[in-house]
Every structure is written in structure tokens, then in C-alpha cells.
Amino acid sequence: MLNNQGRPTRSGEASTADVATFTGNRALDMEEALIFETGRYEATGVDIEEPAPFASRLGPHARRGEIGLPGLSEPEALRHYVRLSRKNYSIDAGLYPLGSCTMKHNPRLNEKMARLAGFADIHPLQPTSTVQGALELIDDLARTLIAMTGMSAIAMSPKAGAHGELCGMMAIKAAIAARGEGATRNVVLVPESAHGTNPATAALIGFSVRSVPAGADGIVSPDAVRAALGPEVAAIMLTNPNTCGLFEREIVAIAEAVHEAGAFFYCDGANFNAIMGKTRPGDLGVDAMHINLHKTFSTPHGGGGPGAGPVVLSKALAPFAPVPYVVATDDTLGLIEHGKGSQAFGRMTAFNGQMGMFVRAMAFILSHGADGLKQASEDAVLSANYIRVCLNDLMSSPYGDRPCMHEALFDDRWLRETGLTTLDFAKAMIDEGYHPMTVYFPLVVHGAMLIEPTESESKVSLDLFIMTLRDLALSALGGERERFAAAPRLAPRRRLDETRAARQPVLKWTKPAPA
């Protein structure tokens, strides 16, 4: 076929896979050297004038010799990082169905608000009279999160989900010690399906971990919990909705059993996005729950943090909340920075927590309002179920046809005859322009594939995703192994040799020896 200028509109039949280029680049996909290979020690992209001569007060502590840090001019730096950025998948570029991670849209308004000088350019130790607006924002967000969860108090300072878990478990440990049971209650119950952070957190502060099995239906039964409870049990750490994407429907009975045994109920709130405005953890008997502001309230994941993990607390745990916290006195807000004379268990971090994340989360909450947050949860759950029903004739669900919450879980039984693995399937998704779902988690489900679409996808986007996964599934079941075994074929890199990385760790650049 020719266009009206007589030029061919097709470039021929050759595959692009074996096209070699001089640079190793493939058009817009460019190879990029390390800054240590291109930068120079004498170069700098920041103009700073040498100060006038002065008498140093460094004494004998002055540094001698090279540091070993190359510099780049601004255009070189821009090009380096822009080229690198283009090797990353991102929410802004496509559906990012990572179960348990809640990769929802990150509104740019939130970025703009967090950069207002009145939030970004204030110091954590300024006189409190000069940061009344900041304290009010923290207080507003605290009250909002308490209202959404039906709890009594909140610790705002934890810096991530796992840090929030640590904070909640420390509050529980302090409460138990205050009852004089510190020496005897030292076991924490953790279901097998839990995030790895749960047992790691418990172990970090000296608890031993006892596993609780989930039933064949994917949820924990009160009987299983009762069987594991005893006078030595300090707490249970239960994720709800759980990591299989199911609501723990026996949660009230479990909470009652836990409380009757004198233990506390820690809820991992990683999946709070499914239930905003639908139910409140405080009404379900939860004593402590962290809220991942970077998941539910859309502070950007940033390639792996920073996050924020405030922890809501029940009345029983409230007195043990760590410093700092905001208090209202007359017509001003104050900051309590010392716990002496109170039951506060201590301090999780220097300063006041992740203010930058608080501003973003507040912008997200104000934008949605009570109505929008409820709608967001409903859309997230509806979208996950839509994906589930559109795929479950081809892919196998470990817990049958029951509705899921905001993520749809499949296992790898349906792949058994194909000789392909969950990993193969995931890597083939990359060639189709999708980030894979969470794979091999939860550990209790063989070859797990956990798909969380969030509320941010249009129906057109969901339909294309479903059609793509159906096409891949049919191809897998039809024996087209090469589409999977060699995948990804079109990404900036093929599969990586992860064993080599771990066996012969190269953790930084070192200057090559002269030839």
C-alpha cells in the first residue's frame, strides 16, 4: 500500500528482535552509562563561589584527598536521569496491577500542595508559634483518619507500613508490660498468609511467632485462633481484608476470642483501600492498625518510598502512643515531644513524621470527601471482581467463585499442563506493555497471581487488560511456549541473572584496573 506521496507505508517483514545497532540503543530506548563512567571529578553542575580566605575552625578534622564523586553539568545530568527514567514502568504510563500495593493514580495537585513553602520549607524544630498551620494540618489528618477508622487515637510519626506495624506492636508490648504481664505474654499469632513484615516486626521486639492456619476458604476461623490462644499470647496480627483479597468475615468473633484471652488485635491495614466508608476497624474490635498513606491515600510510591504509616489505636492502647503528638491548648496548638511522666512508650523517629506525605494525603482526602472515598473503595472492589469474573473461566481461583475485595487472586493450577510458571506468565505480560501483578504472594497459594487494579482504571483500560490476559492465557494453554519462556523479549532488558547478583555481589561501581 502506498500513501499519496508514493512512499511505502510498511517497512518490510523483518523482525526487529535481531537488529543490531552500533550504540546498542534501540531508537528511543537508549543505553546509559553510569555517572562514574561519564562524570569527572573536577566537573560540577552547581556554581558556587569560593569563599574569601578565612581562618578555618576545622582543626585536625579536615579531609584530605579525593572523595571519589564525579560531577555532571546540568545538561549532562538531565540527559542521564531522563534516559534512566525511560527504562521504568509507571502508573502514569499504564495499568500497574500489583496486588497488595495499591498502585492508584497520584494526583499532581498533591505534589503542588506538598511543595508550598509553608509546608516544604519549614523546619521540624521551629518554635511552635511559627508552625501553627502545619500542626493544624497534622491534627486535621489525625482526626480524619480516626473518623474513618472508628478508633480512639493515632500515632502519626511512623515512616512506612512496617514502621507503623512496629509502632502498633510496641504500644501493645507497653500495654502488656503495664499490666505486669511483660514477662509472660511473649507470643504473637500470625496467619501463614501474612505479609513478611508482620512476623519480622514481632520478632524485632522480642516476641516469638506462632503461625495460625487459614481455612480452605482462605480465611481464618475463630476456632483456629482459639486453639492457638493462651495466657502467653500477647497479640494476633491479622490483615483485613486479607492478602488473599478476602474480607475476614469472622473478624468480630476472632476479636472477641483474642480479647477474652487477654490479648490484643493488631490489624495490618495494607488493604484499607477496599473498605473506606464501608466499615470501620474500630467497630470490628481492632486495637491497632497502620494506614499506608502511600497506598490508600495515594502518596506516590517513588520507586520504593518514602511512605508513611500512621497507626490508629483503640482506647486501651491510646495512653501508650509514642511522642511526638499535637495537643490543643487554648487557642494554639502545641507539640508534645517528651513522654516523661506519661505512659508514652518512647519515640519512633526524630522529628514529626512524614509531613510531605501528610499534606499529599490530606489533599487526596479533601478532594474525594466522604462520598468520593466510599466511591473509590466501591470502584476498586468492583474493578477487581470484574477482572475476576472475566478471567476465571481460563485461570484458576484458589477459593472458588466467591467475590473478592479489591484484589483478585489466582493460582497456577491452570498452568500445570503447560509446563509454564507464574513467572513465565508475568514476564510475558511485560512484552504486552503491562507491569505484572504481584506473583508468588501470598505464600499460602501455589504460584499466586494477585491482581489489584485500584479505582483508577477506566472500563476501556480494564477491558483491554482482560483481553490481553485472556489472549496470553489461551496462548499458554495452547502450548505457545516461546511467547513465555523467552519473555520479556521487548523490554529494555531480558530476564536477569539474579543468582549471579547474589553469589558474586557487586554493590557499587569500582574503577576498573588499568589494562
Binding site: 582543626g59 500497574y96 470490628l284
Partner: protein
């Protein structure tokens, strides 16, 4: 609602496909008496304009550091961040990506982390560094736990020059894990005899330089004393820019180095998010907490980067992990790395020199005021002054006159009897006019 793409037609079609009449049927597992029937008690959705107004009105009620002569540090420092840094970290591909768990489509983040680790190792003079921690204080807590694992001992000795809130974080963790902490009294003059506090049960000594009061400390004798007892030296810094001018902790023999990286590339943010730096020697890598990026090759032999040695981490090892940490401070580490790439050692050294020169000027100016003395012999960009009037009152009085004059030590150490001390920082952001204004108004307030 502008962030929700589904409309009522879409929802109806999807509900029909799922086979339910109403979305509430999908929430049937929530016990009926625990389902909310009314909306939660917060306001309804707001437009972008309304949200901007609401938040801007809160922001304007804060005194932004850039709007006044500003001399506060004490663990968080106001430095200039080149415009390109904030532009680059807002690239969608950096801002809205997850941890690089699928490395084939995350080489951008993976390579950045590898470069970051190399920069941190060079800066601290250590063999390896991880991909960052939440902040300096939590990195400090993790370093102590790591030393306990390495030495199989459970007692930490904390220098009296350690930032009090860092010491609080360590003490809180220790209290919870039934570990021992010997927290030495505040050490204004860097004159404590830390060697005397190290015994056979000591796993580590934690020493900060420049310390909380601004003093520069020689860690080499402390390393020798620790080593003699089989204990490790953990070196701490809260001002990363100091490393452009002062000896690196690695050079002085540190076994583990932790610090706050906020100074490079990151704003004050009222205390967070920041970026914890964590470096050590290669032989200790298996006990190191946090993510690590490493070099490898792909199936075609091309150099690639990937998160590695994850068998230390919670998602594999669960309760046997080295830490419960599940994230790093990725975007802040990126900001650090970009700013550091722009600076290079040449820029960093000049930046550090300007900071030091400005601080010396200010120290001399303030020391000339009647009744004011500078307590430090050696310092970088921060020092402590003794004042004839209670420091807390002075700082309030200065604030009323539009100067943020530093940190009254009593705010963080209320019971130490150190009511006449102010920790004063001076960076490249302070002008001669700022310093003159500070000295003049401080003189008025004395």
C-alpha cells in the same frame, strides 16, 4: 469525582457482568451490623480550586524558612536544591513507579540505586552502602541492632554528643527488645571519656560527628578503644554536607556509618520525608538491613541492575529477617543522588567550604556580643552559643522579631540543666545581611 474514571453506565455494565444487582453485594462478607449506612463524618468532595484554597490557608500560617533570617539546624538543614533536582524526581517514571521488583522494566530505578550506593560509600569512606533507610534516626536504631547481631552482645554505648532524638529512637527499640543502653550525659565540649564506658558486654559505641552541639570529633581513638573490647564503632552524622570538608568516618575506622541525607537534594519538609544513609564494610553485608541493588547481566549478557541479597529481608526470611524494613526512601535517595551528581566532589567541597566560612563569620560575630560565648573549639557549619538569658525565651523573642535563631538545647534536653545553650546553624543560604540582622537583634533581646 475527577480522579475516578468509571461512570454510572460503566458501573452498571460491570455489575451485570459480575452478576450482582448492587455493589453492596460484593461487601457481603462484612458483618451486616458492622456495615456503615451513612457517610463518614468528613466533608464532601472538593474541586481542585477548593482544595488549593484550604491547604494554602494552612500553609500561610507557617513561617517559611526562606522568608526570614534562618539559623536552625540540629539534624535538618536548609540548603539550596538546584531546580533540576525537583524537576527530575517528578518525572512520572520515577514518581509513580514501585520498588523495582520486575527489573526488566525498572532499570531506571535500579541503576539509580546502584549509583546512590556508590556515592554514599565514597562519601562515607566505606566499602558498601544500602539503598537507603527511612531517615538518619531510624538508620541509627537499625545500626545498633545490626551491631548486636554481629557481636552477639546486647549493650550499646551512646555518646553524649548524639542527637537526643536519635538516642531516644535507639533507647525505645532497646527498651522493647530488652537490650541495654548506656546513654552518656550531654557532652557539650566533646570531652567525655567514652572509652571508659566500653566493657566486655558492649556491642557498639555510637558517636556523632559533627555532633549535636556542632563539635567535630576524632573517632580514631574511640575505634581503638572499642576494638580492644570487641565492640564496633557506629559513626553518625546528621549533616551530610559536612563530609565535603571533614574526614570521613571510614577513614577514622568506623564499622557502620549512618546518617541523615536530607541536606543533599531534599527540603526541610517539617521533618520528613528524609533519607537515611547506611554504610558498612563488605564483610558485614549479610547482617545489613535494607534493600541493596547489585550489578548482574541479563540473558543477552548486557549489564543490568537488580535488587539482591534479599534473603536477608522480611519477605523471604519473615521472623528471621535482619529487619522488618520493607521500603527505602527511594525518591529522596534519587533527589540526593541527582544533587550529588550535579555537585560532584568539586561542588560538594566548595559547598562545604562556603558553609564553614559563613559559620565561622557568624560565630565570630556572635562571640563579640556581650555575655555570649561560642562553646566549640572545632565545628563545621553549626556551633553552640552560651547566652546570658534562658535560651528558650531568647528564641521565642527572636521569632517575634522575625528571626529563627537556632535550637534551644533545653527543647530536646529539658532536664539536663542546659537552659542557656543555643545550637546555631549557618548554611550557604544565609547572607551577610542575615548574619548582621541576627547579631543585632540578638543583642537587643539579651
Amino acid at each position: 469525582m475527577r480522579y475516578l474514571p468509571l461512570d454510572s453506565t460503566d458501573r452498571a455494565l460491570m455489575l451485570a457482568r459480575v452478576g450482582v444487582a448492587h455493589v453492596d453485594e460484593l461487601f457481603a462478607d462484612i458483618p451486616a451490623d458492622k456495615r456503615l449506612s451513612a457517610l463518614i463524618d468528613i466533608p464532601r468532595a472538593k474541586s481542585e480550586i477548593e482544595v488549593e484554597r484550604a491547604l494554602a490557608s494552612l500553609a500561610t500560617r507557617n513561617v517559611a524558612a526562606g522568608s526570614v533570617p534562618f539559623f536552625l539546624g540540629a539534624g535538618a538543614y536548609r540548603h539550596h536544591v538546584p531546580a533540576s533536582v525537583d524537576h527530575l524526581i517528578q518525572r512520572s517514571e520515577f514518581l509513580t513507579s514501585y520498588t523495582p521488583y520486575q527489573p526488566e522494566i525498572a532499570q531506571g530505578t535500579s541503576q539509580v540505586l546502584f549509583e546512590f550506593q556508590t556515592q554514599v560509600a565514597a562519601l562515607t569512606g566505606m566499602e558498601i552502602a544500602n539503598a537507603s533507610m527511612y531517615d538518619g534516626s531510624t538508620a541509627c536504631g537499625e545500626a545498633v541492632l545490626m551491631a548486636h547481631r554481629l557481636t552477639r552482645r546486647k549493650k550499646a554505648v551512646l555518646s553524649g554528643g548524639l542527637h537526643p532524638q536519635y538516642a531516644d529512637v535507639v533507647a525505645t527499640l532497646a527498651n522493647m527488645a530488652s537490650d541495654e543502653v548506656n546513654r552518656l550525659p550531654p557532652d557539650i565540649l566533646a570531652s567525655e571519656d567514652i572509652a571508659a564506658a566500653i566493657d566486655d558486654r558492649t556491642s557498639c559505641v555510637v558517636v556523632q560527628t559533627p555532633d549535636f552541639f556542632g563539635n567535630l570529633r576524632d573517632l580514631a581513638p574511640i575505634k581503638a578503644a572499642a576494638q580492644a573490647k570487641g565492640a564496633l564503632l557506629i559513626a553518625v552524622f546528621t549533616e551530610a554536607a559536612s563530609l565535603g570538608l571533614v574526614r570521613s568516618p571510614g577513614e577514622m575506622g568506623a564499622d557502620i556509618v549512618v546518617g541523615e541525607g536530607q541536606s543533599i537534594g531534599n527540603a526541610l519538609n517539617f521533618g520528613g520525608p528524609y533519607v537515611g544513609l547506611f554504610a558498612t564494610q563488605l564483610k558485614y553485608v549479610r547482617q545489613m538491613p535494607g534493600r541493596l541493588a547489585g550489578e548482574t547481566i541479563d540473558a543477552e549478557g548486557k549489564r543490568s541492575f537488580v535488587l539482591t541479597l534479599s534473603t536477608r529481608e522480611q519477605h523471604i526470611r519473615r521472623e528471621k529477617a535482619t529487619s522488618n524494613i520493607c521500603t527505602n526512601s527511594g525518591l529522596c535517595a534519587l533527589a540526593f543522588s541527582i544533587h550529588m551528581s550535579l555537585l560532584g566532589q568539586t561542588g560538594l567541597q566548595r559547598l562545604a567550604k562556603v558553609n564553614h566560612a559563613n559559620a565561622v563569620q557568624l560565630a565570630d560575630r556572635l562571640a563579640g556580643l556581650k555575655g555570649v560565648s561560642v562553646v566549640n573549639e572545632c565545628f563545621f557549619n553549626e556551633f553552640t552559643i552560651r547566652t546570658p538569658r534562658a535560651a528558650g525565651e531568647l528564641i521565642e523573642a527572636l521569632a517575634k522579631k522575625g528571626i529563627i535563631g537556632g535550637l534551644p538545647v533545653s527543647r530536646l534536653l529539658p532536664e539536663a540543666g542546659l537552659d542557656d545553650l543555643i545550637v546555631v546553624a549557618n548554611t550557604e543560604m544565609n547572607s551577610d545581611a542575615d548574619r548582621a540582622a541576627y547579631a543585632a537583634i540578638l543583642a537587643e533581646c539579651l
